[in-house]
Symmetry: C2
Subunit: 454 residues, 2 copies
């Protein structure tokens, strides 16, 4: 998806050192578009183009580059200029990037950063990946409650460039304890009474998150409350940072893709599909295929136990895929429903009994449906000297009913158990559900067969 | 997840008609929290509580209620009061709700709405579900480019309550053609020069969407550009509405859950898991189980063709689940990766050749891995009078290699084909991939067996 529209012109301007043209390019169009047009350039060329915008624009356009190009620039381009730009990056993005460059380069870069940015990096990089602390930004508009609306407006006007958002203003005391929130909207509508103090209009019933909360929980909170940003506090309610709506969107998409990958039995990728190397992909898929292979081997061992039966009634073999896939599919349906409901907060662990009862009922209904279809199928596949009401005709239907119930039960209980144990239910459930249900399916099938025909 | 903390108090206040207490409850806490505390009340009780806040608060709290309760209130409570509140709802939420109430009630309600809100509803409800037009809101701050910063600030201060966001101000001409964008941040930092005209500072390189664009594409655009809101225009670039960051979050979560459900072979649910009736769930799962059942029957027919071989070499039956699951799993991995990459915009149709070649390579690597494991398994399961290098020992490994390659190919090509045809790749791919790969797997397996042993 490389936009080649401007590529020849950009390259020509670079060759002819057309500074004016390159500056115009940087300044005239939206930074996101500029980055898009530069996607076809090498990281060296891209960095050279960026030198023609001012530092603010440079940061803006750079932040829309793909991560691979960003890292290449940080690793290879002249360290002083790179450090100058890194100092201006939003703190959360800075941490994300710096954590992926080589240790030597990182040390060099840090030594060139202003002391405040360096400390900020050290503080932020302590939070484990996936926590609120690791996503938050520290460039927040913090004000004293004793300011008037007029003073607050002047303050923002003066400093707005330093803040990631000026639409939520946080009111803190001398020790940075969070006291309240005033929105830019409140300030603007309050301009008629410019001498009003902030404490008179501030909202004090605040929704906050802890720095160690999981990013997915944070994102769910922001989504539920329709917030622009959410403050991150420590256990003494001291203000550490904020997480803004655009970070929340990134978190939600990342988590949703991870969930989908796990449901599809792929270890989540760190970068996009085409950027992931073949070997990494092989590993991330191979590990699950190997686990599932192992389960299938157990199924083979289970079938081996019944080789005599298969030899006697070969038609039993025909239904092995049907039995296995019916159990596996109903199980993975249940697992998918429970996993997504858990991750969206539609159910919690305390609902477990309701969920299990529901899934049992579902298993009964779906199993009965498949059993009916299984009976009809038996008419065609079971050797034709068997009468319609002979016990043999009921082997497949009864198996299907039991297997589907077994699938919905396993598919609903396993994710709940994983959630209870503090493991990611999406991470392990679906393959395990398939594995367990496959083996149980074979055992049910041949036991029913032995009872009914044997 | 019903919060029962305030329930007894609320009920007591209702019984004793404690207006002051109920007003305090509505006013003192965040509307989202108030709604949470009221989750245990009946819709009648909840509505009665809301009567104690002013209309603005009523709308705020109401908008955090669950959809079931919202609809119950609209359907059953006194129509005049309901209409008064409906008139104040954000236009996009209003359309969402009104489209689900009974036609008679809708007619009554519409007749009680102010003419402007009624027209607005009629206009918005024309857009098909899932389009930008159906998600957008029409309460936008539109200004003329000839205003000065001071005039613009006054204008917002005066009218801010009418707009969903005042942080992006849209500049339009007399006929509502979109000309530019000024952010509240620009206005605030520009206060030092209050006589500057808006056209001097407005941003004219705007990112817009068409009213008929799919909501998922819109959400992806907003996410990519880190926007607070995106304007919706018609084909003459007339401004129709905006879609704000909170709507984008809702769209992204909705789409991600739908994708996950489809990957798990469940028709996406309209409401949350516990609120979906058993019958609806049965239908949404049963339809896919039935389709997959049909595929499994085709597999049975395929196996039937080879009954003679199974009778001769019963051990072949042991590996049927292994062959089928290896193909199915590698296929669903590929499908999952391609579907998520497509929906996040990481690949497009033009990448098809690269994707297919990658998946073929993956198939080779993964298939070779599974084949090695399959050879080891053969040592245990193939009857022991066969020598280690006898052709029979290679039936399972070769089958696995071919089946996995067949899985990765089908799993990557089908979603691309569905995308090309304009169908949702997530909607149909995974079950189809499983079905096709299962049958091909059986055909490959027995053909390899016949060549090598027969």
């Amino acid at each position: 998806m490389i936009n080649t529209l401007y590529l020849p012109e950009l390259r020509e301007m670079l060759e002819t050192h057309n500074s004016q043209g390159l500056r115009d390019f940087c300044e005239a169009i939206h930074p996101a578009r500029a980055a898009e047009f530069m996607a076809g350039l090498t990281s060296e060329e891209a960095w050279e183009v960026l030198q023609h915008g001012d530092n603010e624009l440079r940061v803006d356009i750079f932040s829309y580059f793909g991560k691979v190009k960003q890292l290449e620039i940080l690793e290879t381009q002249a360290i002083e200029q790179v450090a100058e730009m890194v100092a201006e990056l939003p703190p959360d993005d800075r941490v994300d990037l710096l954590q992926e460059i080589s240790p030597q380069r990182l040390e060099l870069l840090l030594s060139l950063l202003p002391i405040e940015e360096r400390r900020d990096f050290q503080r932020l990089s302590q939070y484990p990946e996936g926590t609120a602390g690791a996503v938050m930004t520290t460039e927040i508009a913090k004000l004293s409650e004793l300011l008037t609306i007029r003073e607050a407006l002047n303050e923002i006007a003066r400093q707005s460039e330093d803040y990631e958002t000026i639409y939520y203003l946080y009111i803190v005391d001398d020790e940075d304890h969070l006291r309240g929130l005033v929105s830019a909207r409140q300030l603007l509508t309050g301009m008629k009474h410019p001498e009003t103090k902030l404490y008179e209009i501030m909202d004090t019933d605040l929704i906050t998150v802890d720095a160690l909360d999981h990013q997915e929980d944070v994102a769910n909170k922001v989504a539920k409350m329709d917030l622009l940003a959410i403050p991150v506090v420590d256990n003494q309610h001291k203000m550490l940072g904020i997480i803004t709506h655009d970070d929340v969107i990134d978190v939600l998409r990342e988590e949703a893709t991870e969930d989908a990958h796990r449901i599809g039995a792929v270890e989540p990728l760190d970068v996009s599909y085409l950027r992931t190397s073949l070997l990494t992909l092989t590993w991330k898929r191979g590990i699950w295929l190997a686990i599932l292979f192992f389960f299938a081997l157990l199924t083979a061992i289970a079938i081996q136990e019944y080789e005599d039966q298969i030899e006697k009634w070969v038609w039993l073999a025909l239904f092995i895929p049907l039995v296995i896939s019916s159990g596996g599919n109903s199980g993975s349906q249940s697992a998918t429903l429970i996993i997504t409901a858990l991750s969206r907060g539609h159910i919690t662990l305390s609902d477990w009994l309701r969920v299990v009862v529901r899934e049992l009922m579902m298993g009964l209904l779906l199993g009965a449906g498949l059993a009916t279809m299984g009976y009809c199928a038996s008419i065609f596949f079971v050797p034709d000297h068997v009468a319609l009401l002979n016990a043999t005709m009921f082997v497949v239907p009864l198996t299907l009913l039991l297997v589907v119930m077994c699938g919905t039960l396993t598919g609903s209980i396993l994710p709940l158990v994983f959630e209870k144990l503090g493991w990611d239910p999406a991470m392990m459930s679906t393959p395990f559900v398939a594995g367990i249900v496959d083996i149980l399916g074979i055992l049910i099938y041949f036991n029913v067969a032995i009872r009914f025909i044997g």
